[in-house]
């Protein structure tokens, strides 16, 4: 591996995609749908949006054209890798009842299609590592998540610019990818630098017969890192954890709850939120019933329901649960903060609640 940068000329980008396809992967890449960039299946890089830039702010996401002609001048869309590994809906097992009233259980079988994702950002790789920790490293490993996870080939892209909502640099998760990818691209003015992060990635680079990157190209990469790192938003994860641990009784939760709709948009777009509910879907005949899990949110009414009582009946304790789990108790559970600084919860909040402002509000209230 050696983390050596090679130069991938633009005309070889499609060759890379073809080789990945030939290895049995369905290729997913950037695609504009409903005025936002998402991952979708593609076969030709011609299908990728070119010269598009995203403007993001609290409750705001807007795509505009720009003139650089680059593929990856945008920062991120609502989707990370989460829906590709931890499916929004997943069948778990089927229950069968026979005529003599016995029951039997069968695991849902069938592995998902191998998938290569082009354009993965460093924040998404960091989030994936956190989900891996939760679903796989903590015993027992979740077999459903593992099936979604092991099929992935990840082709990352280092961010050339940050959105106004990004703060991955201060959480230590970007804007450049350091690990967790098979291949990582850096888009330059003409062509890409490409580096391998796994044996599979190395094989792909070897097969493309690329030359090593030149000095001036590496310099351009470093400059790009400097530019993308100059993010407006800052947050000190260590201080935040400390402040939140002190502020469980703060009045600020009520103030924030006045704006919060408890809609769960933030937990859906958050690349690390992992809550799910289970439910039964009985077939009409009644003999078979499918046990299925779907994403849930700590903002839902049912999330804290227990025999007739909802523990978090109001929005304030729900918001507190979400924020303190993400930034404080996550550290107790998994050794680091659950936030990777992608800023999605800010952008996709219909009420425009800014998580960094919320933290400030709660902390200020505590320090008074």
């Amino acid at each position: 591996m050696g983390h050596q940068d090679f130069f991938l000329p633009l005309n070889k980008l499609q060759t890379l995609v073809d080789r990945v396809s030939a290895a049995g992967y369905q290729c997913y890449g950037p695609h504009i749908r409903d005025a936002a960039i998402v991952f979708a299946a593609f076969s030709s890089v011609e299908q990728w949006p070119v010269g598009v830039v995203d403007f993001q702010g609290p409750g705001e996401y807007r795509l505009e054209s720009e003139t650089s002609g680059r593929y990856f001048y945008w920062a991120n869309g609502p989707q990370g890798l989460k829906p590709l590994t931890f499916f929004p809906e997943q069948d778990l097992w089927q229950s069968t009842r026979t005529a003599d009233a016995t029951v039997d259980f069968h695991a849902e079988t069938g592995s998902p299609q191998k998938m290569a994702v082009f354009g993965v950002r460093s924040c998404d790789l960091a989030a994936l590592a956190l989900l891996d920790r939760h679903f796989l490293s903590e015993s027992p490993a979740d077999p459903y998540y593992r099936d979604g996870r092991e099929r992935l080939l990840l082709i990352a892209v280092n961010c050339a610019r940050s959105a106004a909502t990004c703060f991955c640099h201060s959480t230590g998760d970007g804007p450049f990818a350091e690990s967790g990818f098979d291949l990582c691209l850096t888009e330059l003015e003409a062509g890409f630098l490409i580096v391998a992060g796994s044996d599979r990635g190395t094989e792909l680079i070897d097969a493309l017969r690329l030359r090593l990157a030149h000095k001036h190209e590496l310099k351009q990469k470093r400059e790009q890192f400097q530019i993308a790192s100059r993010q407006q938003r800052k947050l000190d994860p260590v201080q935040v954890r400390f402040d939140l641990a002190q502020s469980i009784q703060s009045d600020a939760w009520q103030e924030i709850a006045r704006d919060c709709l408890s809609c769960g948009n933030c937990t859906s777009v958050c690349p690390t939120c992992f809550c799910f509910s289970e439910m039964d879907r009985p077939a009409l005949g009644g003999e078979n019933s499918m046990r299925t899990r779907i994403w849930d949110s700590c903002f839902s009414h049912g999330h804290s329901y227990i025999h007739g009582v909802t523990i978090r009946e109001e929005t304030a304790p729900r918001y507190r649960q979400w924020l303190t789990h993400k930034f404080s108790t996550w550290v107790n559970q998994y050794g680091r903060s659950g936030c990777v600084g992608c800023g999605r919860c800010i952008t996709w909040c219909p009420a425009g609640i800014d998580v960094i402002e919320s933290i400030r509000q709660v902390s200020a209230n505590t320090h008074e």
Partner: protein, 281 residues
């Protein structure tokens, strides 16, 4: 899926051997795992719980009330509250359901050996407490003075009168019953469980307390025990929250940094004391 699902994720069939009516909206299912292999592999500790699955309806976490030595029959005392428990209440002998488990950490039975015991429960059919009492009953000599305190809201709520009497006949055992409100013929105490500590027999420096029931009751009882000089590290309680997976994955049962399904449901008091003081955690 290329891996075998272990029973942590998928239930195994279990047969209802007996259904015991315990009181209004309260019943016990005595279950036997259907497969001999599953029975052999199954071991549990008092205080652990199973997920019981009713075909086509759903799953609920229920404490195991029987003794670990009774390998064949697993007792689950269930209160009828929601959709799944209402369905479970309609089961009859011979019916089958699914079981996953056991899950979680149970009571510190080994650590409590040689000590006096305070078992404090509030509400009805408190299965986690029953599992301890039965465990001690079978191994009475390993423990010191046994004190059992049961509080109910109204005297009419009390069930298992014979069981309480039977337990109070055990050697060196005190059973105290109290109701917040009692009718004129209620022969036991009136008031909260915290009013009964003067009637209990234990050595403050050599006692283990185990509690289950409403959080308000457990908080008040714990405060009283601390005032009496019992160490925080000798007080244990069983917690409840919404549970879907019982494996620390679904996120519902989080209580501060803990997942109640795998870090609990039994906790040492000092680990949850500060969280218990906050509403809506």
């Amino acid at each position: 899926m290329n891996k075998d699902l272990n029973h942590a994720f998928m239930p195994v069939p279990a047969t209802v051997v007996e259904r015991v009516e315990e009181g209004p909206d309260l019943f016990t299912l005595r279950l036997e795992l259907a497969a001999a292999e599953a029975r052999r592999a199954y071991h549990f500790e008092p205080g652990q719980f199973n997920m019981l699955y009713l075909h086509g309806v759903g799953e609920v976490p229920i404490s195991i009330a029987s003794d670990p030595q009774d390998k064949h029959l697993l007792d689950h005392t269930i209160r009828t509250v929601g959709r799944v428990t209402r369905g479970l209440a309609r089961l009859r002998s011979g019916d089958q359901i699914g079981i996953r488990g056991p899950y979680g950490h149970g009571w510190p039975m080994r650590e409590a050996e040689g000590r006096d015991l305070l078992i404090i429960t509030g509400g009805l059919g408190c299965a986690p407490a029953v599992s301890v009492i039965r465990y001690v009953q079978r191994r009475r000599k390993r423990f010191g003075h046994l004190n059992i305190v049961q509080g109910v809201k109204h005297s009419a709520d009390l069930i298992w009168k014979e069981r309480w009497q039977q337990w109070s006949a055990m050697p060196d055992t005190r059973v105290l019953l109290t109701a917040d409100k009692g009718d004129p013929l209620w022969p036991w105490h009136i008031g909260p469980v915290t009013g009964l500590f003067g009637h209990l027999q234990f050595h403050t420096d050599n006692v283990t307390a185990m509690m289950c029931g409403p959080e308000g009751m457990m908080k008040a009882a714990a405060r009283q025990m601390l005032d009496l000089g019992i160490k925080r590290s000798r007080i244990w309680l069983s917690m409840e929250r919404n549970m879907q997976c019982a494996l620390g994955k679904c996120g519902h049962c989080q209580f501060g940094p803990t997942f109640i399904c795998k870090d609990g449901p039994v906790f040492r008091y000092d680990r949850v004391e500060s969280l218990l003081q906050v509403k809506g955690v």
